[in-house]
Symmetry: C2
Subunit: 189 residues, 2 copies
DNA sequence: GACCAAGGAAACCGATCTGTCTACACTTGA
DNA sequence: TCAAGTGTAGACAGATCGGTTTCCTTGGTC
Protein backbone atom coordinates (compact mmCIF):
# COMPACT_ATOMS: atom_id res chain seq x y z
CA UNK A 1 0.00 0.00 0.00
CA UNK A 2 1.65 3.25 -1.09
CA UNK A 3 1.73 6.33 1.14
CA UNK A 4 -0.86 7.97 -1.06
CA UNK A 5 -3.13 5.65 -2.96
CA UNK A 6 -3.26 5.99 -6.72
CA UNK A 7 -6.90 6.85 -6.37
CA UNK A 8 -6.19 9.84 -4.15
CA UNK A 9 -3.33 10.83 -6.40
CA UNK A 10 -5.62 10.94 -9.41
CA UNK A 11 -8.36 12.83 -7.58
CA UNK A 12 -5.89 15.36 -6.25
CA UNK A 13 -4.54 16.25 -9.68
CA UNK A 14 -7.96 16.15 -11.29
CA UNK A 15 -9.12 18.58 -8.62
CA UNK A 16 -6.51 21.15 -9.55
CA UNK A 17 -7.05 20.80 -13.28
CA UNK A 18 -10.85 20.82 -13.18
CA UNK A 19 -10.82 23.82 -10.88
CA UNK A 20 -8.40 25.85 -12.94
CA UNK A 21 -9.52 24.95 -16.45
CA UNK A 22 -13.00 23.54 -16.20
CA UNK A 23 -14.39 20.05 -16.67
CA UNK A 24 -14.99 19.79 -20.39
CA UNK A 25 -11.75 21.59 -21.16
CA UNK A 26 -9.68 19.14 -19.12
CA UNK A 27 -8.87 15.90 -20.92
CA UNK A 28 -8.11 12.53 -19.41
CA UNK A 29 -4.67 12.53 -21.00
CA UNK A 30 -3.73 15.70 -19.17
CA UNK A 31 -4.92 14.28 -15.86
CA UNK A 32 -2.95 11.03 -16.13
CA UNK A 33 0.13 12.93 -17.27
CA UNK A 34 0.01 15.27 -14.27
CA UNK A 35 -0.88 12.52 -11.84
CA UNK A 36 1.84 10.29 -13.27
CA UNK A 37 -0.37 7.25 -13.69
CA UNK A 38 -1.31 5.20 -16.71
CA UNK A 39 -4.67 5.43 -18.39
CA UNK A 40 -5.39 1.87 -17.38
CA UNK A 41 -4.93 2.75 -13.72
CA UNK A 42 -7.33 5.65 -13.99
CA UNK A 43 -9.97 3.50 -15.61
CA UNK A 44 -9.37 0.79 -13.03
CA UNK A 45 -10.40 3.23 -10.32
CA UNK A 46 -13.07 5.13 -12.21
CA UNK A 47 -15.36 3.70 -14.84
CA UNK A 48 -15.65 6.95 -16.69
CA UNK A 49 -14.61 10.59 -16.67
CA UNK A 50 -18.00 11.43 -15.24
CA UNK A 51 -17.40 9.15 -12.29
CA UNK A 52 -14.05 10.85 -11.72
CA UNK A 53 -15.73 14.26 -11.84
CA UNK A 54 -18.23 13.11 -9.25
CA UNK A 55 -15.53 11.78 -6.94
CA UNK A 56 -13.56 14.99 -7.42
CA UNK A 57 -16.53 17.17 -6.50
CA UNK A 58 -17.17 15.09 -3.38
CA UNK A 59 -13.54 15.47 -2.37
CA UNK A 60 -13.66 19.20 -2.95
CA UNK A 61 -16.79 19.48 -0.82
CA UNK A 62 -15.03 17.70 2.01
CA UNK A 63 -11.84 19.76 1.79
CA UNK A 64 -13.62 23.07 1.30
CA UNK A 65 -16.05 22.76 4.17
CA UNK A 66 -13.41 21.46 6.55
CA UNK A 67 -11.24 24.41 5.71
CA UNK A 68 -14.08 26.91 5.98
CA UNK A 69 -15.09 25.59 9.41
CA UNK A 70 -11.51 25.43 10.66
CA UNK A 71 -10.73 28.99 9.61
CA UNK A 72 -14.01 30.41 10.85
CA UNK A 73 -13.53 28.81 14.24
CA UNK A 74 -9.88 29.71 14.45
CA UNK A 75 -10.65 33.38 13.88
CA UNK A 76 -13.72 33.63 16.11
CA UNK A 77 -14.34 32.11 19.51
CA UNK A 78 -17.98 32.72 20.27
CA UNK A 79 -20.81 31.67 17.95
CA UNK A 80 -21.67 35.34 17.45
CA UNK A 81 -18.08 36.11 16.47
CA UNK A 82 -17.99 33.17 14.15
CA UNK A 83 -20.97 34.38 12.17
CA UNK A 84 -18.71 37.32 11.45
CA UNK A 85 -15.38 35.56 10.97
CA UNK A 86 -17.09 33.37 8.41
CA UNK A 87 -16.59 36.33 6.09
CA UNK A 88 -12.94 36.59 7.05
CA UNK A 89 -12.44 32.96 6.09
CA UNK A 90 -14.12 33.69 2.78
CA UNK A 91 -11.89 36.73 2.34
CA UNK A 92 -8.79 34.61 2.80
CA UNK A 93 -10.11 32.18 0.21
CA UNK A 94 -10.66 34.93 -2.36
CA UNK A 95 -7.08 36.01 -1.92
CA UNK A 96 -5.48 32.65 -2.45
CA UNK A 97 -3.29 32.65 -5.55
CA UNK A 98 -5.23 29.78 -7.06
CA UNK A 99 -8.68 31.22 -6.41
CA UNK A 100 -10.88 30.52 -9.39
CA UNK A 101 -14.38 30.96 -8.08
CA UNK A 102 -16.54 28.36 -6.42
CA UNK A 103 -15.96 24.97 -8.00
CA UNK A 104 -19.62 24.09 -7.51
CA UNK A 105 -20.91 27.22 -9.18
CA UNK A 106 -18.48 26.48 -12.00
CA UNK A 107 -19.63 22.89 -12.24
CA UNK A 108 -23.27 23.95 -12.26
CA UNK A 109 -22.45 26.14 -15.25
CA UNK A 110 -21.11 23.20 -17.22
CA UNK A 111 -23.70 20.68 -16.04
CA UNK A 112 -26.69 22.95 -16.10
CA UNK A 113 -29.52 20.45 -15.83
CA UNK A 114 -30.61 20.25 -12.20
CA UNK A 115 -31.01 16.45 -12.42
CA UNK A 116 -27.44 15.88 -13.56
CA UNK A 117 -25.57 13.92 -10.85
CA UNK A 118 -22.71 16.40 -10.94
CA UNK A 119 -25.15 19.26 -10.51
CA UNK A 120 -26.86 17.46 -7.62
CA UNK A 121 -23.57 17.23 -5.72
CA UNK A 122 -23.25 20.99 -6.16
CA UNK A 123 -26.69 21.63 -4.71
CA UNK A 124 -25.87 19.29 -1.86
CA UNK A 125 -22.66 21.16 -1.14
CA UNK A 126 -24.51 24.46 -0.96
CA UNK A 127 -27.03 22.94 1.41
CA UNK A 128 -24.27 21.65 3.69
CA UNK A 129 -22.54 25.02 3.83
CA UNK A 130 -25.86 26.63 4.71
CA UNK A 131 -26.42 23.98 7.37
CA UNK A 132 -23.12 24.94 8.95
CA UNK A 133 -24.06 28.62 9.01
CA UNK A 134 -27.41 27.66 10.47
CA UNK A 135 -25.71 25.74 13.27
CA UNK A 136 -23.64 28.83 14.08
CA UNK A 137 -26.80 30.96 14.04
CA UNK A 138 -28.52 28.52 16.39
CA UNK A 139 -25.61 28.53 18.83
CA UNK A 140 -25.65 32.33 18.71
CA UNK A 141 -29.36 32.30 19.59
CA UNK A 142 -30.46 34.11 16.47
CA UNK A 143 -34.19 34.72 16.31
CA UNK A 144 -34.60 32.75 13.09
CA UNK A 145 -31.40 30.72 12.53
CA UNK A 146 -32.61 29.22 9.26
CA UNK A 147 -33.45 32.55 7.73
CA UNK A 148 -30.25 34.18 8.94
CA UNK A 149 -28.28 31.32 7.42
CA UNK A 150 -30.12 31.78 4.14
CA UNK A 151 -29.34 35.48 4.17
CA UNK A 152 -25.67 35.17 5.03
CA UNK A 153 -25.26 32.38 2.53
CA UNK A 154 -26.84 34.46 -0.22
CA UNK A 155 -24.49 37.33 0.56
CA UNK A 156 -21.49 35.02 0.40
CA UNK A 157 -22.62 33.63 -2.96
CA UNK A 158 -22.89 37.16 -4.28
CA UNK A 159 -19.41 37.96 -3.04
CA UNK A 160 -18.01 34.85 -4.73
CA UNK A 161 -19.45 35.96 -8.06
CA UNK A 162 -18.11 39.46 -7.52
CA UNK A 163 -14.68 38.12 -6.68
CA UNK A 164 -14.47 35.72 -9.58
CA UNK A 165 -16.16 37.48 -12.49
CA UNK A 166 -14.75 40.91 -11.78
CA UNK A 167 -11.66 39.91 -9.87
CA UNK A 168 -12.73 41.96 -6.88
CA UNK A 169 -10.48 40.72 -4.11
CA UNK A 170 -12.31 42.85 -1.54
CA UNK A 171 -15.75 41.45 -2.23
CA UNK A 172 -15.78 39.69 1.12
CA UNK A 173 -15.23 42.95 2.98
CA UNK A 174 -18.43 44.45 1.62
CA UNK A 175 -20.17 41.15 2.23
CA UNK A 176 -19.08 41.24 5.86
CA UNK A 177 -20.50 44.72 6.40
CA UNK A 178 -23.75 43.60 4.79
CA UNK A 179 -23.79 40.42 6.79
CA UNK A 180 -23.42 42.29 10.06
CA UNK A 181 -26.64 44.13 9.31
CA UNK A 182 -28.59 40.89 9.25
CA UNK A 183 -26.68 39.36 12.13
CA UNK A 184 -27.51 42.37 14.29
CA UNK A 185 -31.14 42.30 13.21
CA UNK A 186 -31.40 38.64 14.17
CA UNK A 187 -29.73 39.20 17.54
CA UNK A 188 -31.44 42.19 19.04
CA UNK A 189 -34.96 40.76 19.10
CA UNK B 1 -30.72 41.40 -47.95
CA UNK B 2 -32.75 38.81 -46.08
CA UNK B 3 -35.18 39.73 -43.29
CA UNK B 4 -32.78 38.34 -40.72
CA UNK B 5 -29.16 38.38 -41.66
CA UNK B 6 -27.27 35.10 -41.57
CA UNK B 7 -25.03 36.63 -38.95
CA UNK B 8 -27.91 37.33 -36.59
CA UNK B 9 -29.34 33.90 -37.32
CA UNK B 10 -26.11 32.23 -36.27
CA UNK B 11 -25.73 34.36 -33.15
CA UNK B 12 -29.30 33.69 -32.13
CA UNK B 13 -28.94 29.91 -32.28
CA UNK B 14 -25.47 29.98 -30.75
CA UNK B 15 -26.93 32.00 -27.90
CA UNK B 16 -29.49 29.34 -27.08
CA UNK B 17 -27.02 26.47 -27.35
CA UNK B 18 -24.22 28.12 -25.41
CA UNK B 19 -26.64 29.16 -22.69
CA UNK B 20 -28.24 25.76 -22.31
CA UNK B 21 -25.23 23.50 -22.75
CA UNK B 22 -22.15 25.61 -22.18
CA UNK B 23 -19.44 26.83 -24.52
CA UNK B 24 -16.98 23.97 -24.66
CA UNK B 25 -19.77 21.42 -24.82
CA UNK B 26 -21.39 23.07 -27.82
CA UNK B 27 -19.75 22.18 -31.14
CA UNK B 28 -19.72 24.22 -34.33
CA UNK B 29 -21.50 21.41 -36.15
CA UNK B 30 -24.45 21.62 -33.78
CA UNK B 31 -24.69 25.38 -34.19
CA UNK B 32 -24.72 25.31 -37.99
CA UNK B 33 -27.23 22.49 -37.99
CA UNK B 34 -29.61 24.39 -35.69
CA UNK B 35 -29.09 27.69 -37.46
CA UNK B 36 -29.57 26.01 -40.83
CA UNK B 37 -26.46 27.49 -42.38
CA UNK B 38 -23.35 25.95 -43.86
CA UNK B 39 -20.03 25.88 -42.11
CA UNK B 40 -18.68 28.12 -44.83
CA UNK B 41 -21.20 30.80 -43.99
CA UNK B 42 -20.38 30.67 -40.32
CA UNK B 43 -16.68 31.06 -40.98
CA UNK B 44 -17.40 33.86 -43.44
CA UNK B 45 -18.95 35.83 -40.59
CA UNK B 46 -16.70 34.73 -37.73
CA UNK B 47 -13.05 33.87 -37.99
CA UNK B 48 -13.19 31.39 -35.14
CA UNK B 49 -15.44 29.85 -32.55
CA UNK B 50 -13.94 32.19 -30.02
CA UNK B 51 -14.99 35.19 -32.07
CA UNK B 52 -18.50 33.77 -32.26
CA UNK B 53 -18.54 33.31 -28.49
CA UNK B 54 -17.48 36.91 -28.04
CA UNK B 55 -20.19 38.18 -30.39
CA UNK B 56 -22.74 35.98 -28.66
CA UNK B 57 -21.83 37.31 -25.22
CA UNK B 58 -22.09 40.90 -26.49
CA UNK B 59 -25.51 40.15 -27.93
CA UNK B 60 -26.63 38.56 -24.69
CA UNK B 61 -25.46 41.58 -22.73
CA UNK B 62 -27.51 43.84 -24.98
CA UNK B 63 -30.66 41.71 -24.83
CA UNK B 64 -30.41 41.01 -21.12
CA UNK B 65 -29.89 44.57 -19.96
CA UNK B 66 -32.57 45.92 -22.27
CA UNK B 67 -35.01 43.40 -20.89
CA UNK B 68 -34.00 44.04 -17.28
CA UNK B 69 -34.44 47.79 -17.68
CA UNK B 70 -37.72 47.46 -19.55
CA UNK B 71 -39.24 45.14 -16.95
CA UNK B 72 -37.94 47.11 -13.99
CA UNK B 73 -39.39 50.32 -15.39
CA UNK B 74 -42.64 48.74 -16.45
CA UNK B 75 -43.26 47.45 -12.92
CA UNK B 76 -42.14 50.56 -11.03
CA UNK B 77 -42.77 54.19 -11.82
CA UNK B 78 -40.61 56.17 -9.40
CA UNK B 79 -36.87 55.62 -9.02
CA UNK B 80 -37.47 54.42 -5.47
CA UNK B 81 -40.03 51.89 -6.68
CA UNK B 82 -37.69 50.75 -9.40
CA UNK B 83 -34.93 49.89 -6.97
CA UNK B 84 -37.49 47.46 -5.63
CA UNK B 85 -39.06 46.22 -8.87
CA UNK B 86 -35.57 45.37 -10.05
CA UNK B 87 -35.99 42.28 -7.92
CA UNK B 88 -39.35 41.52 -9.48
CA UNK B 89 -37.77 41.60 -12.91
CA UNK B 90 -35.11 39.21 -11.65
CA UNK B 91 -37.82 37.00 -10.19
CA UNK B 92 -39.55 36.77 -13.56
CA UNK B 93 -36.24 35.84 -15.16
CA UNK B 94 -35.63 33.02 -12.67
CA UNK B 95 -39.01 31.59 -13.52
CA UNK B 96 -38.58 31.51 -17.26
CA UNK B 97 -38.69 27.94 -18.57
CA UNK B 98 -35.27 28.32 -20.17
CA UNK B 99 -33.56 29.84 -17.12
CA UNK B 100 -30.09 28.41 -16.81
CA UNK B 101 -28.27 30.84 -14.57
CA UNK B 102 -26.43 33.95 -15.61
CA UNK B 103 -24.68 33.40 -18.92
CA UNK B 104 -21.79 35.58 -17.79
CA UNK B 105 -21.23 33.72 -14.56
CA UNK B 106 -21.35 30.54 -16.61
CA UNK B 107 -18.88 31.89 -19.13
CA UNK B 108 -16.55 33.04 -16.37
CA UNK B 109 -16.54 29.48 -15.10
CA UNK B 110 -15.36 28.13 -18.44
CA UNK B 111 -12.96 30.98 -19.21
CA UNK B 112 -11.60 31.45 -15.77
CA UNK B 113 -8.56 33.62 -16.46
CA UNK B 114 -9.50 37.22 -15.83
CA UNK B 115 -7.54 38.38 -18.90
CA UNK B 116 -9.42 36.10 -21.29
CA UNK B 117 -11.42 38.27 -23.74
CA UNK B 118 -14.56 36.27 -23.05
CA UNK B 119 -14.10 36.77 -19.34
CA UNK B 120 -13.53 40.49 -19.83
CA UNK B 121 -16.89 40.84 -21.55
CA UNK B 122 -18.47 39.17 -18.52
CA UNK B 123 -16.83 41.63 -16.14
CA UNK B 124 -17.96 44.47 -18.37
CA UNK B 125 -21.53 43.18 -18.35
CA UNK B 126 -21.55 43.09 -14.56
CA UNK B 127 -20.21 46.62 -14.45
CA UNK B 128 -22.94 47.84 -16.81
CA UNK B 129 -25.70 46.23 -14.77
CA UNK B 130 -24.30 47.85 -11.66
CA UNK B 131 -24.14 51.18 -13.46
CA UNK B 132 -27.83 50.89 -14.21
CA UNK B 133 -28.64 50.20 -10.58
CA UNK B 134 -26.45 53.12 -9.60
CA UNK B 135 -28.37 55.42 -11.93
CA UNK B 136 -31.62 54.34 -10.28
CA UNK B 137 -30.06 54.95 -6.86
CA UNK B 138 -28.95 58.40 -7.93
CA UNK B 139 -32.40 59.30 -9.23
CA UNK B 140 -33.85 58.06 -5.95
CA UNK B 141 -31.47 60.35 -4.04
CA UNK B 142 -29.79 57.56 -2.15
CA UNK B 143 -27.14 58.77 0.27
CA UNK B 144 -24.39 56.77 -1.44
CA UNK B 145 -25.69 55.58 -4.83
CA UNK B 146 -22.52 53.74 -5.72
CA UNK B 147 -22.46 51.74 -2.53
CA UNK B 148 -26.18 50.98 -2.66
CA UNK B 149 -25.73 49.74 -6.22
CA UNK B 150 -22.86 47.52 -5.11
CA UNK B 151 -24.97 46.10 -2.32
CA UNK B 152 -28.08 45.43 -4.40
CA UNK B 153 -25.97 43.96 -7.16
CA UNK B 154 -24.24 41.62 -4.75
CA UNK B 155 -27.59 40.45 -3.42
CA UNK B 156 -28.83 39.79 -6.94
CA UNK B 157 -25.72 37.78 -7.78
CA UNK B 158 -26.27 35.68 -4.71
CA UNK B 159 -29.87 35.08 -5.69
CA UNK B 160 -28.82 34.00 -9.18
CA UNK B 161 -26.49 31.38 -7.72
CA UNK B 162 -29.19 30.22 -5.36
CA UNK B 163 -31.69 29.95 -8.19
CA UNK B 164 -29.39 28.12 -10.55
CA UNK B 165 -27.35 25.76 -8.38
CA UNK B 166 -30.19 24.74 -6.09
CA UNK B 167 -33.10 25.44 -8.38
CA UNK B 168 -34.63 27.82 -5.88
CA UNK B 169 -37.25 29.67 -7.91
CA UNK B 170 -38.04 31.96 -4.98
CA UNK B 171 -34.50 33.21 -4.49
CA UNK B 172 -35.46 36.65 -5.78
CA UNK B 173 -38.15 37.01 -3.12
CA UNK B 174 -35.64 36.71 -0.28
CA UNK B 175 -33.27 38.94 -2.21
CA UNK B 176 -35.99 41.58 -2.46
CA UNK B 177 -36.60 41.57 1.29
CA UNK B 178 -32.86 41.86 1.87
CA UNK B 179 -32.54 44.59 -0.73
CA UNK B 180 -35.25 46.67 0.92
CA UNK B 181 -33.17 46.78 4.08
CA UNK B 182 -30.34 48.52 2.27
CA UNK B 183 -32.62 50.69 0.19
CA UNK B 184 -34.31 51.96 3.34
CA UNK B 185 -30.98 52.52 5.03
CA UNK B 186 -29.76 54.56 2.08
CA UNK B 187 -32.94 56.62 1.92
CA UNK B 188 -33.60 57.73 5.45
CA UNK B 189 -30.41 59.66 6.00
C1' DG C 1 -26.28 37.62 -71.26
C1' DA C 2 -22.16 38.12 -68.32
C1' DC C 3 -20.56 38.65 -64.04
C1' DC C 4 -20.04 38.21 -59.13
C1' DA C 5 -20.85 37.71 -54.28
C1' DA C 6 -23.05 34.71 -51.01
C1' DG C 7 -24.42 30.52 -49.64
C1' DG C 8 -25.00 25.27 -49.45
C1' DA C 9 -23.32 20.49 -49.20
C1' DA C 10 -19.90 17.88 -48.02
C1' DA C 11 -15.20 16.07 -48.37
C1' DC C 12 -11.23 16.63 -45.96
C1' DC C 13 -7.45 17.93 -42.46
C1' DG C 14 -4.93 17.20 -38.21
C1' DA C 15 -5.74 17.21 -33.57
C1' DT C 16 -7.95 15.62 -29.62
C1' DC C 17 -11.61 13.31 -27.17
C1' DT C 18 -13.07 9.10 -24.09
C1' DG C 19 -12.31 4.60 -23.58
C1' DT C 20 -10.19 -0.31 -24.64
C1' DC C 21 -6.64 -3.40 -25.14
C1' DT C 22 -2.15 -5.75 -25.33
C1' DA C 23 2.31 -6.73 -23.51
C1' DC C 24 5.21 -6.54 -19.87
C1' DA C 25 7.27 -5.43 -14.99
C1' DC C 26 6.93 -5.64 -10.10
C1' DT C 27 5.40 -7.06 -5.62
C1' DT C 28 3.35 -10.22 -2.42
C1' DG C 29 1.39 -14.22 -0.27
C1' DA C 30 0.57 -19.17 -0.56
C1' DT D 1 8.08 -21.21 -7.18
C1' DC D 2 4.13 -19.73 -8.94
C1' DA D 3 -0.23 -17.18 -9.32
C1' DA D 4 -2.68 -13.06 -8.66
C1' DG D 5 -2.99 -8.40 -8.39
C1' DT D 6 -1.57 -3.98 -9.54
C1' DG D 7 0.92 -1.11 -12.00
C1' DT D 8 3.21 1.08 -16.61
C1' DA D 9 3.66 2.31 -21.47
C1' DG D 10 1.46 3.07 -25.22
C1' DA D 11 -0.93 1.47 -29.49
C1' DC D 12 -5.40 1.64 -30.97
C1' DA D 13 -10.44 2.58 -31.97
C1' DG D 14 -14.10 5.44 -33.28
C1' DA D 15 -16.08 9.69 -32.62
C1' DT D 16 -15.84 14.52 -32.61
C1' DC D 17 -13.40 18.75 -32.42
C1' DG D 18 -12.34 23.43 -34.98
C1' DG D 19 -11.31 24.82 -39.31
C1' DT D 20 -10.29 24.69 -44.69
C1' DT D 21 -11.37 23.74 -49.20
C1' DT D 22 -13.74 22.36 -53.40
C1' DC D 23 -17.54 22.34 -56.27
C1' DC D 24 -21.93 23.83 -57.34
C1' DT D 25 -26.21 26.77 -57.20
C1' DT D 26 -28.63 30.90 -56.63
C1' DG D 27 -29.99 35.70 -56.95
C1' DG D 28 -29.21 39.97 -58.13
C1' DT D 29 -26.83 43.88 -61.09
C1' DC D 30 -24.72 46.09 -64.90
Amino acid sequence: MPAISKREQIISHALTLFYQHGFNATGIDKIIKDAGVSKKTLYNHFHSKDELILATLRKRDELFRNNLMRETERLGHTPRERLSTLFDAVHAWFNEATFSGCMFINASAEFSELENPNHLVCAEHKRLVRDYIKSLAQQANASDPEELANQLNLIIEGAIVNAHVEGNKDAAKRAKVMGEVFINMAMKD
